[in-house]
């Protein structure tokens, strides 16, 4: 009897090793798959909400910048606007590209800013859908202004726009889990803060300030 056990032991050990290996592979595969799923934000995630809202928010900054480039010859303002156009149009492309790669729609029936939580709800008015966004009336004023008046109005509108954008980006930095999105949101906070300082100087040079 003891001989029988001895003879069978190597077989049992082999079977045991195979079972353990198979289990380890299965657990490992599940873990990898789980991580992949966890890394794909869902329709109601902070990542999706931020990407959708910031894509809209950025688009208005691009639009305002195109307008002011047609309304003034001032090199400093035109250069700033050129910078905003390229940066925000490209960043908007990143946000929309992520939504696409996550298999999510570019828009949602949920109200803007919902992903930020209750304190952030914003009542849309006259085309201003999120904090900092200009109204249609203000955009029309910019379209009609020329020279220094257009420059000052643009700098004021963009300062407010950046302030709203920074708050949203801060919200994403605090609560989003997707590393690349958090990294981009952080660059928005730092970059737009630096531009607010620059615009304050530019307003001062024109005898104006950000507040009315």
């Amino acid at each position: 009897m003891s001989t029988g056990i001895t003879r069978r032991t190597p077989v049992l050990i082999t079977v045991g090793i195979v079972v353990v290996l198979a289990a380890a592979l299965l657990v490992g595969w599940r873990a990898v798959e789980g991580t992949a799923n966890a890394a794909t934000p869902g329709d109601r995630s902070v990542e999706a909400g931020f990407s959708r809202d910031m894509a809209v928010h950025h688009q208005q900054a691009v639009e305002m910048s195109f307008i002011v480039r047609d309304r003034t010859d001032d090199e400093a303002v035109r250069t700033l606007a050129y910078d905003v156009i390229n940066t925000q149009a490209n960043q908007r492309g990143m946000l929309l590209g992520w939504l696409e790669s996550w298999g999510l729609n570019k828009t949602s029936t949920r109200a803007p800013m919902t992903w930020m939580g209750h304190g952030a709800m914003y009542e849309a008015k006259d085309g201003s859908l999120m904090p900092g966004m200009a109204t249609n009336t203000q955009l029309d004023q910019l379209r009609k202004a020329t020279g220094k008046d257009a420059e000052i109005l643009y700098l004021r509108l963009m300062t407010a726009h950046h302030q709203g954008g920074i708050d949203m980006a801060r919200g994403a930095v605090k609560t989003a889990g997707d590393d690349k999105l958090v990294r981009l949101a952080r660059t928005m906070v730092d970059g737009q803060r630096a531009e607010i300082d620059l615009m304050a100087d530019m307003l001062a040079q024109r005898g104006a300030e950000a507040g009315q």
Binding site: A76, T79, L80, Y82, D83, N86, T87, Q88, A89, N90, Q91, G93, M94, R183, L184, T187, D190, G191, A194, L198
Partner: protein, 118 residues
């Protein structure tokens, strides 16, 4: 590298400058994700022309002489720097691959055109 901020960036769309440029404009280019290659008169002429050709075909790079550096050739990205004696140093290509519009970029998406030409 960091330093004073200038609202205007030096064009960095594969731009080669034969004279020294304003450092503050170049620093702004680094914010836009560019790699700036600088060299002194200690760099070999063949190395300088090799690097100029490399820059000319690489958007988001720029190159100019810079007498004030200790190394013959220096590559700078935002917060990153590499000093080498020769263009053939394999770290040059690695640096370019990693940092041209790399993760260190403070303003992703910003342009290397529309700034200052010199």
């Amino acid at each position: 590298m960091g330093g004073d901020h200038n609202p205007v960036w030096a064009n960095c769309n594969g731009d080669v400058y034969d004279k020294e440029i304003d450092e503050t404009n170049a620093v702004h280019s680094l914010e836009h994700g560019a790699v700036w290659i600088t060299y002194t008169d200690k760099a070999a002429a063949t190395d300088v022309s090799t690097l100029k050709e490399r820059v000319k075909k690489t958007p988001y790079t720029l190159m100019s002489p810079f007498a004030g550096q200790s190394s013959p050739i220096t590559l700078s990205a935002w917060g990153k720097q590499l000093s080498v004696d020769a263009a053939s140093d394999p770290r040059v290509e690695k640096f370019l691959t990693k940092y041209v519009q790399g993760e260190q970029t403070p303003e992703p998406g910003a342009a290397c055109t529309g700034g200052k030409m010199a």
